[in-house]
Subunit: 300 residues, 2 copies
């Protein structure tokens, strides 16, 4: 089954203890779609400026993305610059220049409206709601968010969460939205806002999938030696997860668990190089091999 994503495409400038890159391909929709494209057909709703390098468009095409929903607006592409310290946790943002993304009003092409799997990447919850209005009851709607929207657009975010099948967020966001430092308690609160399932991402501590505040699945991260750049790991996780779900069309507990492992594995590849570089070099074989390896290092 096919998969629709709405999110950002950016040019990122990133500095980590392991190197520095200027104006490389980035954005939530970018990481998500490249990751998901290993599993299923992905359609993209996003915006770039007229300065967006053609080579990136070629690269999207090479990954088989449907770009009918990609808009080219006069002006500059969204830009982000950030630095990471040794712990590689939250980056220190140097600047965020929204540029054409500032007036982004997602148009959903008619042929996209029946797509059964929808991912609303981290953008203004008003826009996430808008997209949701335009599509015909997808089989699974998942969304991400971030601290900024929790702090500034909580009302819209709460309206959105009522309609969500899977809410993917990280641990600091879960603590912020719930006011609880314990993740089980945080999940309990978040369920009260409406989403049917929750995944709390914990960076190199793995992910927890909740179907109920008493029913969860814990997946450790895949341990990696040569981490170069954590940017996009969360969106890559979501891409692997939603890509695998779209392919299998299996929304059972065991289907979700497998999908979470595929998400975990895609994220582990992502951090091994700057931007989506490592993802772009992958073969399906590499992914399957790491899945087997993951099973080996976690089973008892």
């Amino acid at each position: 089954m096919s998969l629709l994503v709405v999110g950002s495409i950016a040019l990122d400038s990133v500095k980590t203890p392991f190197g520095e890159r200027d104006e490389i391909l980035g954005g939530s929709a970018t990481y998500f779609s490249i990751s998901a494209s290993f599993f299923t057909k992905v359609s993209l709703v996003a915006v770039v400026g007229t300065d967006f390098p053609k080579k990136h468009i070629e690269l999207f095409k090479k990954r088989g993305l449907d770009l009918d929903g990609l808009e080219f607006e006069k002006g500059k592409t969204f830009r982000w610059k950030g630095n990471y310290a040794y712990d590689l946790n939250n980056p220190n943002t140097i600047y965020t220049k929204l540029n054409v993304f500032k007036d982004f009003y997602p148009a959903v092409p008619v042929e996209y409206k029946k797509i059964p799997y929808l991912f609303l990447a981290n953008i203004d919850p008003h826009l996430q709601l808008l997209v949701l209005k335009k599509v015909y009851s997808p089989r699974l709607v998942a969304c991400d968010s971030m601290n900024f929207w929790i702090q500034n657009e909580l009302k819209a975010l709460k309206r959105l969460l009522k309609k969500i099948g899977l809410f993917v967020l990280n641990d600091s966001e879960a603590k912020l939205i719930s006011g609880e430092s314990n993740l089980i308690k945080a999940a309990k609160y978040i369920f009260s806002l409406g989403p049917k399932r929750i995944i709390i991402k914990r960076g190199d501590s793995g992910a927890i999938f909740f179907t109920d505040s008493n029913k969860f699945f814990c997946a450790p991260a895949y341990l990696i030696q040569g981490i170069k750049d954590p940017t996009g790991a969360g969106d890559t996780f979501a891409g692997g997860l939603m890509g695998y779900l779209s392919k299998s069309n299996d929304l059972s507990e065991s289907g979700f668990r497998k999908a979470i492992i595929y998400g975990t594995i895609m994220a582990s590849f992502c951090v091994q190089d700057f931007g989506p570089n490592k993802l772009l070099k992958l073969k399906l074989f590499d992914i399957k091999r790491r899945f087997t390896e993951y099973k080996r290092v976690t089973s008892f």
Copy 2:
């Protein structure tokens, strides 16, 4: 097979966001032996002062501990006081009063010298070396340590690690001793110091077992809602681990993996109440049930 532990017995005063307790039973050897006693016969080498409450001795006896190696010295028992913030990570130590522990010179009763499993809990590495000299080549020697010894007695610690079958330490200690922020790289360095196997404990992010810097096993923590006091969780983990290994006498990869899960589960009980309270209320049935539950929440 039986198990010998050398470590501290203390009276702890603890404050967490969930309550406060004064002068409750604590110490590395205490948590370790109570935890291990659910699996095997545990012999204790430690020291207490003449002020040590008799009720605690009764409690040790109730858990079947062999106390021939427990010394009663004139003076006060070792005391520790600490506060935890909401994140429940490293406590803020208010005081450490070594008291009789200051001149602790562990004597190993003759009948203990042949015990095949030995755990050298976190004490001065000179004392750990001394105990190791006194015993007759145990089947497995495991040890713990802490930042203080890494910073102040590194030479002795390095001498000790050459003779160790299993080194159990937490992630901040692994980073400190190796100077590496990546845990695989940290393990690689620690292996160069001599230990045959390494377990890096990561608190609520679980544990990693290394048999080689390229061969590891990842175990997530067991997710707990009502955490009251994390004191002793690491020693309780080690107790469950070594207790299970002594019982099974299975030092294969799969034997270690199971032992690590039992350690994880014992630690998850420990944090549910102040001091070793929850551990003392357990039945073997509770432990087995949580093992099954752990399997359910981690398998895919």
